[in-house]
């Protein structure tokens, strides 16, 4: 039996996490993500979970990683400045293959910027913001419904691939209230346990090793140093480093098809929008107001790993138009994968693209 609610996006995110079995939240308040923490503070204690407000965002993500090693589904939520502070430990999570969910309700940057207005300026940061090479998963919701669903999915992906998963939402979606249908229950893909007696960092065929949960007698050593399959540091061994880092990247990149989540609308169109997050709504409005096959739409829910083959499904595409609330961050990525012009439609300042702006762009390039 589903249930209807009229919820704020941030509430839906917190509820999606709870439905997915999240039992640890470590966070630090920051606009426009704070409602997620506040909701967790109310709800988690009632579900035998732990809410803790840490001293800063560095500690928040650290506590989440620590909690994850005890087997708990764990998350944090923040926005730009806090996200920047998490970068070092995000790299640690990637290196140690710690499942965790990090929500970023994006606001206008750089720096303190526009604390209360929406943006999508951290899309490259979530992929490249920590030092060294690694891979992550990033999902972008465009509605309150998706705030719920994608948050829940983030936990499953995190556990399956043992990787930090980002819910890269934005203030527009985080703060708006709309209708949401709450499912009866949410699928929970369990974390694969390490087979006792096997090496803790030796991958299975999916390139992901089983999880040696703390307290279960594995006696595992977890380190952010380059480590061998026993988990022991071997920071001066070039071969082991290469093998490890390549695997960390490959386990995500090679699962691109499975992780990718997107819609192809009007694959025969010549003018094709590509969008994720709040601008999706404007594209949808434009398509609704101008029905027919002449506008195509690649609507992304997964941005990282980027589904690089998806634009190719628009066989007749003569150009891709990419409305983003940033200076064309994902447009850069798209340029790498297509041969036709990529028209970045950046918008800064906190306001969502209007339908007429997108129509004007369609006209300008037709």
């Amino acid at each position: 039996m589903t249930r209807t609610e009229f919820w704020q996006g941030n509430t839906a995110c917190a509820e999606g996490a709870l439905a997915a079995g999240c039992r640890f939240f470590g966070g630090y308040p920051i606009t426009p993500s704070t409602e997620i923490a506040e909701h967790m503070a109310v709800k988690l204690p009632k579900k035998n979970g732990v809410f803790i407000q840490m001293e800063d965002e560095i500690a928040s993500i650290a506590s989440v990683i620590g909690a994850s090693w005890t087997g708990a589904r764990a998350m944090t939520a923040t926005s730009g400045p806090g996200f920047s502070l998490m970068m070092e430990n995000i790299g640690f999570a990637a290196m140690t293959e710690t499942p965790c969910v990090i929500v970023n309700i994006q606001r206008g940057g750089p720096s303190t910027g526009q604390p209360t207005l929406g943006a999508q300026g951290d899309m490259m940061q979530c992929r490249f913001g920590s030092h060294g090479d690694y891979a992550v998963i990033a999902l972008c919701p465009a509605s309150v419904q998706e705030m719920y669903e994608l948050t829940a999915r983030a936990f499953n992906l995190a556990d399956k691939y043992r990787v930090p998963v980002f819910l890269m939402a934005d203030e527009v979606v985080g703060h708006m209230r709309e209708k949401i249908i709450i499912p009866d229950s949410v699928e929970q893909v369990p974390r694969k346990a390490l087979v006792k007696g096997t090496l803790p960092f030796k991958p299975d065929s999916d390139l992901v090793p089983g999880f040696p949960q703390f307290g279960k007698g594995y006696g595992v050593h977890v380190t952010g140093l380059t480590h061998d399959e026993r988990g022991y540091p071997c920071a001066t061994n070039p071969k082991l480093h290469e093998t490890l880092v390549m695997r960390l990247v490959d386990k995500i990149e090679s699962a691109r098809h499975e992780i990718a989540d997107y819609d192809i609308i009007n694959p025969g169109a010549e003018q094709v929008f590509i969008a994720y997050g709040a601008p999706v709504r404007t594209v949808q409005q434009v398509m609704h107001d101008h029905p027919g096959d002449n506008i195509g739409f690649l609507r992304l829910r997964t941005v990282w790993p980027f589904p690089e083959y998806a634009p190719g499904e628009f066989k007749n595409a003569r150009r891709f138009l990419v409305p983003e609330m940033n200076l064309g961050q994902i447009a850069r990525e798209i340029e790498r994968h297509v041969r036709v012009p990529v028209i970045s439609l950046p918008k800064l300042g906190g306001e969502l693209h209007t339908p007429s702006e997108l129509l004007a762009a369609l006209e300008a390039y037709r």
């Binding site: 500690a59 620590g66 977890v222």
Partner: protein, 262 residues
């Protein structure tokens, strides 16, 4: 002696320099642990980055070797998410009090049920001997080439001011006392802080006129003053030389704690 079983024998000898005091502190910590009736699988070691922070890599329990300064924040997550685990943090003066100072005082304030052992060699050993927040005034390091001009922290005073339930200080000379202090820390609900002053012949001793390892250990012995004596001298209005430091149990109280086993 059975605390030897707590070592990962396959990883010994460790990477510490000859005469480094860290190995001694691990011995004392494990000897104390051995006296608790805890299973290895219920115990977790957490550390940051530094020579000292390498310790958990030599201990058979589950262990989390994290990022520089953040051990206590990670440990907070481990402990709160599963209060049935016994969580011990091993850290260094740089890790705990330089980059990690904030997590330290906040964990004291919250009285998270952790036992934190700080190997204070008054220097950054791992990176080759830069000054730390506990480098004594006037001492030489690669970043205080003209002598340290910043007053060092008294880590125990900080822990007390910040709210920790148990605080004591010893040195690598005082192996038995240190073992007992760690034991008391393990037994006390809430945040327990044990500071162990240790010799670092490579990065500290060499630059500060300690020709032999033993000279620095002897210095630690001869410059430590029991709390009881210090209090007595203070009471009598007597002068306590600036280069002496207090050892002993410095705080034990029962403020509200977080993460205590249910």
């Amino acid at each position: 002696m059975s605390y030897e079983e707590w070592y990962r024998q396959d990883r010994l000898p460790h990477i510490y320099c000859a005469g480094c005091g860290n190995g001694t502190i691990i011995n004392c910590t494990l000897a104390a642990l051995e006296q608790m009736a805890w299973k290895k699988e219920d115990t977790v070691f957490v550390s940051g980055i530094g020579c000292s922070s390498r310790a958990p890599g030599y201990i058979v329990t589950d262990s989390l070797h994290t990022t520089h300064g953040r051990a206590i924040a990670f440990a907070t997550g481990v402990k709160l998410a599963n209060p049935d685990l016994h969580v011990v943090v091993i850290t260094g003066d740089g890790d705990l009090a330089a980059i990690g100072g904030n997590h330290f005082i906040h964990a004291c304030r919250r009285n998270i049920d952790l036992t934190v052992v700080c190997m204070n060699n008054q220097i950054y050993g791992m990176t080759g001997g830069q000054g730390s927040p506990t480098t004594p005034l006037g001492c030489l390091s690669t970043t205080t080439p003209y002598g340290c001009v910043e007053t060092p922290f008294d880590l125990c005073d900080l822990a007390i001011a910040a709210g920790a339930n148990y605080v004591s200080r010893w040195t690598s000379y005082h192996v038995k006392e240190l073992e007992k202090a760690v034991l008391a820390g393990l037994q006390t609900p809430g945040f327990s802080f044990i500071e162990a002053l240790v010799q670092c012949p490579t990065a500290f001793g060499r630059r500060n006129k300690f020709k032999q390892v033993a000279d620095q250990v002897e210095y630690l012995r001869s410059h430590s003053m029991l709390k009881a004596k210090r209090d007595r001298l203070l009471e009598q209005g007597e002068h306590i030389p600036g280069d002496m430091f207090v050892v002993g149990e410095l705080e034990r109280r029962n403020r509200p704690a977080l993460g205590v086993k249910r």
